[in-house]
């Protein structure tokens, strides 16, 4: 096949080429190779003539290969002539003669070390930008909230109820399931290890205190960040992509007030409620495992639990919850607003939203732990 695409013989200083077959897209790479092989013979020629009479099919790819050969020969100072090219294919060749005239832009070469340093620098600057965008969103939310307090009828009540249904009510089953399982696992581990000291009853203290103070709120916050935070980012991000947010602005609405405030408020309400439900489910799971696995009857479990925990433990968990909701909301919405035009950036920003909000939730939890320890709660 390739033999017939282009054959040539050298007669003195004249290289006579005969083209044939299909000069089309599907043969373009073959054609490129054949042309490369003929280069040696072309070097010795001063005149090149090419007879296109045998070509059955000819498209842009073939025309470009021909044009490329012509340019190479002309650049080397050879005289060229083409025969046997049908009229309409001449038009195509003429069209391609006009393109790719600018020299290709030289590829940028980067020093590896400098590139590595640059990426470290960009990462650090990125952290700074994240902090400012967080503060920015916090301020904008505060401003919007202050305005809504003065004119409560401006609160998007319908939107808020709709969001509450999605992030609160519809999250209940999965939160119940996960916290129930985690409560059970903690209880089982406690009983298993405390049994060596004959202290399995203390596993009840363990599960009670841990769940109320830390685990309940943390699990719920992480679940909400993955479930609702990511969907906030994706929603706002695709609205950014389709210029819906710009449209809102031009109509005189503040996107923070219309879109973000109701979402964040809903999280501030939903996370404590879910934490409450989740903590109960975790204690329930602990009780069930204690009974089935540890042989601790529900009566004894309840008696031990009321002794071990106090309202303080419950308060510590619940006080943290709204702040968790706030942080998740701010991160999710500010990441959503950073989405650029492409689908890829939507994906990146959604991932970033989940990772950053889980990270911040854990950092916040640590700071609360220090705070509560120092005030003796």
């Amino acid at each position: 096949m390739s033999a017939t695409l282009l054959t040539g013989e050298l007669e003195g200083e004249r290289l006579k080429l005969a083209a044939g077959g299909s000069w089309t897209a599907s043969h373009a790479s073959e054609l490129e190779q054949v042309a490369g092989r003929l280069e040696g013979e072309a070097e010795r020629a001063r005149y090149v003539s090419i007879d296109m009479g045998g070509v059955r099919e000819f498209d842009t790819f073939g025309a470009w290969m021909l044009e490329r050969l012509l340019r190479e020969w002309k650049a080397a100072g050879r005289e060229t002539s083409i025969t046997g090219l049908p009229e309409h294919d001449r038009g195509l060749l003429a069209a391609l003669a006009r393109v790719n005239r600018e020299p290709p832009s030289p590829p940028r070469r980067e020093n590896r070390l400098i590139a590595a340093l640059a990426s470290v620098g960009q990462a650090v600057a990125g952290v700074g930008r994240d902090l400012t965008s967080f503060a920015d969103m916090f301020g904008a939310l505060g401003y919007a909230a202050a305005r809504v307090v003065r004119r409560p009828q401006d609160l998007r009540f319908t939107s808020a109820v709709h969001q509450l249904d999605r992030v609160g009510w519809q999250a209940v089953p999965i939160i119940l399931l996960i916290t129930f399982l985690i409560g059970g696992i903690i209880e089982q581990q406690g009983i298993f290890h405390f049994r060596k000291f004959g202290a399995e009853l203390y596993a009840v203290d363990l599960v009670g205190i841990l769940v109320l103070r830390e685990i309940g709120v943390l699990i719920v916050a992480i679940m909400v960040a993955g479930r609702s935070g990511s969907s906030y980012t994706a929603e706002l991000g695709s609205m950014m992509m389709r210029e819906e947010i710009d449209a809102l602005k031009t109509m005189g609405f503040d996107p923070v007030e219309v879109l973000i405030l109701p979402r964040v408020l809903v999280l501030i309400v939903a996370v404590p409620v879910l934490t409450f439900i989740g903590s109960l489910a975790a204690l329930y799971g602990g009780g069930v495992v204690a009974w089935l696995y540890g042989g601790i009857s529900p009566d004894i479990f309840m008696a031990r639990l009321t002794e071990a925990i106090s309202v303080t433990h419950f308060k510590v968990g619940m006080i943290k919850a709204p702040f968790m909701g706030l942080v998740i909301g701010i991160v999710a919405c500010s990441e959503g607003l950073k989405v650029k035009g492409s689908a890829e950036s939507l994906g990146l920003q959604t991932t970033a939203s989940v990772v950053k909000s889980i990270f911040l939730v854990i950092v916040l939890d640590g700071m609360f732990a220090i705070f509560f320890a120092s005030i003796g709660m």
């Binding site: 373009a28 790479s29 490129e32 842009t60 309409h88 069209a95 790719n100 035009g341 492409s342």
Partner: protein, 258 residues
């Protein structure tokens, strides 16, 4: 020009739920022509285009493209056929995470075995042929203007040197001058590449200047098909208002006086 039908649609029925959009529609497009498809908004032009290229299911009827009946074709034949047509969607539908150049290279890379150098040269050649500057080649779709998006999408539709291109409202959203240039571009490319063009359009100007034949869609059928002159004589009420309304009459007059 030989009158070989490259697209032939017979008794096509397409509907959504109990709403019949196309009702026993018949239409032919001949080799090497620019066929304009017109119709009121919502008359089913996009649905017709999407059904022909196989994106929407049909209830009844037959569609043949380049001599291949799409119902009887197997997977390999379908794929081979898809390489022989290019589509310009109404919204461009460029891949947003690839640059313009990569968008054009995408079908080449998937279907042909080209060297990196040839891949680059061909992509840039196609972009230049549709009138995009070289510096636009490395932009992302979100950074393009509406007209540039259309041009880039056309370059992608032409990437594999198709025999048929389907254009869904190529000039909508362009200013009249840009629309005129785009029409001229389509005409030039059609002449040099010998394309068959199936063009859905609302633009009377395009119909007058570039279309060889026009098919008018109404009530789920093709109510008139033929050159512009035939349209002007058609008695169907919608066609009549469309071509002999204020704007239509103006263009018709200008054309007669030229």
């Amino acid at each position: 020009m030989e009158a070989r039908a490259v697209i032939s649609v017979r008794d096509l029925v397409v509907g959504f739920g109990d709403h019949l959009v196309l009702d026993h529609l018949c239409l032919d497009a001949y080799s090497g022509e620019i066929l304009g498809v017109v119709g009121a908004s919502g008359s089913g032009k996009s649905v017709l285009l999407r059904t022909i290229i196989g994106l929407l299911p049909k209830r009844e009827g037959q569609i043949e493209v380049l001599g291949l009946n799409l119902d009887e074709a197997d997977e390999a034949q379908r794929r081979a056929l898809e390489r022989r047509w290019g589509i310009l969607f109404q919204q461009g539908a460029l891949f947003s995470s690839l640059t313009v150049r990569q968008n054009v290279q995408f079908p080449m890379r998937e279907n042909l075995d080209l060297s990196p150098r040839l891949l680059d040269e061909m992509a840039l050649a196609k972009l230049e042929m549709v009138g995009l500057a070289r510096r636009d080649a490395d932009k992302f779709p979100a950074e393009l203007s509406g007209g540039m998006t259309k041009r880039a999408a056309l370059a992608r539709a032409l990437a594999l040197d198709p025999e048929i291109v389907f254009l869904d409202e190529p000039t909508s959203g362009l200013d009249p001058i840009a629309a005129g240039e785009f029409d001229a571009l389509i005409e030039t490319l059609q002449k040099t590449l010998g394309l068959t063009v199936f063009m859905v359009t609302h633009d009377l100007e395009s119909l007058y200047t570039v279309c060889d034949r026009v098919a008018a869609l109404a009530d789920g059928k093709v109510v008139a098909a033929g050159p512009i002159a035939a349209m002007l004589e058609c008695e169907h009420p919608w066609v009549k208002t469309y071509f002999q309304g204020k704007r239509g009459a103006l263009l018709a007059e200008r054309r007669v006086s030229v």
